[in-house]
């Protein structure tokens, strides 16, 4: 039988069924922390047993074993829990709507009382079905540290009602954070975030969930072009567009169009629209900057107090449409808020370079390099600074 599984198939199947098993226990009134532990045990058991002995009904298997683990845990605790164990022994109810379960689980894992780091860890475990050890590896912390973080998070959400509606915006942000923790570095997490976003679109008709999925697909489509053979970061305008993943682009654009058709535009849909316009351009020079600028205008208008990061990124589009000087003037508007951050210097350096002011570009790239917290990014910015300064030396004197 084991020959029937394709590589990675067991893992993916177990993990896709895990949230449903957890939801089934929660619907019976089990508390989140205990139920989640039981499902995690069942996942480990499934990964061990299924490759050799595939179950006839994997979902029922996972629920039954989770249930048994839960009862075992109760029994080993003490006699006072026997009564509850008896309740847990009752026959399973038929599964209800999966979509709602996933959403409620995500609301639970992304509870606003939790820090982003805890929201991410809990989401990856309870909804993503990852093991604590996988999550610890992904974030380069010891497994014991991640285990503590998860159990503390579970204690925090323990008394929350499973049926309580949550904040979708927080869930979207957590999925986005998972993606960016993986983007270009920890590939598994990027794929995991796309999987979560996909689950989310099945669980809610909200167009912003589709917007996020589209954005992640479009960003992920460019991953193969983001670094060269030596592992160096390659910015968008220099990427080899022939290695972009056309399937992901097609899906991303399709998902986005269906979201936009709802006519309730939000931040993620707008960012996805900008990503789609980049994906549409066969060369960097073909980029439809005027239309990108329009989407940025919409993004700025989205909030009463303009988001400084959006204003800064809009400045790049302004530079392309109205000239570098106009773009630089836009960056001045947010110097008070972002003036000490690397993004501000990086955007200005790019615009100075566009303007042919290589002295200022070199200084700004160096200032950005000194402020980034990412090694690949720092190396890129240092190379850019060196390139700008080399151009300055070779520039004919006026």
């Amino acid at each position: 039988m084991s020959g029937e599984w394709r590589p990675g198939e067991v893992d993916l199947l177990v993990r896709s069924l895990a949230p449903k098993a957890l939801a089934a226990l929660l619907r019976r009134g089990e508390d989140f922390a205990t139920a989640e532990d039981a499902v995690q045990d069942a996942i480990v058991e499934a990964l061990r047993v299924w490759p050799e002995r595939p179950p006839r009904d994997p979902q029922a298997w996972l629920i039954a074993v989770s249930q048994r683990r839960l009862i075992d845990a109760r029994r080993s605790e003490s006699a006072r829990h026997r009564r509850e164990a008896a309740v847990a022994d009752e026959p399973a109810q038929g599964p209800t709507e999966l979509g709602d379960d996933t959403l409620l689980l995500l609301f639970c894992c992304c509870h606003p009382d939790l820090s982003p780091a805890s929201q991410i860890a809990l989401t990856l475990r309870a909804v993503g079905g990852l093991t604590t050890s996988d999550i610890a590896d992904a974030f380069f912390v010891p497994e014991a540290t991640m285990a503590q973080r998860i159990s503390r998070a579970k204690r925090t959400v323990r008394d929350r009602q499973f049926t309580e509606p949550g904040d979708l915006a927080v869930v979207l942000r957590v999925v986005s954070l998972v993606y960016h923790a993986g983007h270009g570095r920890r590939n598994d997490l990027a794929s995991e975030a796309i999987r979560l976003a996909r689950q989310l679109t099945l669980a809610t008709p909200e167009p912003e969930a589709r917007g996020l999925l589209a954005l992640l697909l479009l960003q992920h489509s460019r991953l193969p072009a983001r670094s060269d053979a030596q592992g160096r970061f390659v910015p968008l305008d220099e990427q080899d567009r022939s290695v972009w993943d056309t399937n992901e682009i097609a899906e991303g654009i399709d998902v986005l169009q269906r979201a936009l058709a709802e006519d309730r535009h939000g931040r993620y849909q707008m960012l996805a629209a900008i990503a789609a316009l980049h994906a549409d351009a066969t060369t960097s020079a073909d980029t439809d900057w005027p239309q990108i600028l329009e989407w940025y205008d919409d993004l700025v208008a989205l909030t009463t107090e303009p988001d400084a990061a959006v204003v800064l990124n809009r400045a790049v589009a302004v530079g392309h449409v109205r000239g570098a000087a106009a773009g630089l003037a836009e960056t001045d508007r947010v110097s008070a808020v972002l003036g000490e951050q690397q993004q501000w210097y990086a955007v200005r350096a790019y615009l100075f370079e566009m303007a042919g002011d290589f002295a200022s570009a070199g200084d700004a790239y160096a200032a950005a390099a000194a402020r980034t917290t990412r090694v690949a990014e720092r190396d890129h910015l240092v190379r850019r600074a060196a390139r700008a300064r080399a151009r300055l030396r070779h520039q004919p004197a006026d």
Binding site: P116, A117, Q148, S176, H180, H278, T372, T373
Partner: protein
């Protein structure tokens, strides 16, 4: 991210920065309160100090923020390339009294820079002679991804 300048912008900052809290045998700003070296303290004070540092690790583990903690010996060897076909050049000192000498570190994985500063200040309150807080300067450095 560089994406800001050249790629679509969705700048979500890393949610879990890591920091190195460096303790020094010497170097850094002038001590807030000068103390003699630990080998001149009362034995109980030395124990209390060590216990405190272990307690820091324990609490960080319980809070899910611990990555690593290490102590370094005082012996220091500087090494450089000796040139083609030459042995490495080394020097063990003596070094100026003011030169930095790292004693060890905690590496933590926390929500924010503010939290890293808070932990560093707690480490700095470690007991010295007579159980008084040492007010030691801690060098807080963000670890790059």
């Amino acid at each position: 991210m560089v994406r800001a300048a050249t790629d679509v912008a969705d700048d979500e900052e890393s949610s879990m920065p890591k920091y190195l809290l460096l303790k020094h045998y010497r170097g850094g700003p002038d001590p807030h309160i000068p103390f003699p070296p630990m080998d001149q303290w009362a034995p109980d004070d030395v124990d209390a100090h060590m216990n405190f540092l272990r307690e820091v690790s324990k609490v960080l583990k319980e809070s899910g923020e611990y990555v690593d903690a290490r102590a370094l010996t005082m012996a220091q060897t500087w090494v450089r390339y000796g040139g083609p076909d030459a042995a490495p050049v080394t020097t063990d000192g003596p070094h100026p009294e003011t030169s930095d000498l790292v004693a060890g570190w905690y590496m933590i994985d926390v929500d924010s820079h503010e939290r890293a500063v808070e932990v560093a200040a707690w480490v700095s309150s470690e007991p010295g002679p007579g159980g008084e807080p040492m007010y030691e300067w801690i060098d807080v450095r963000e670890v790059m991804d």
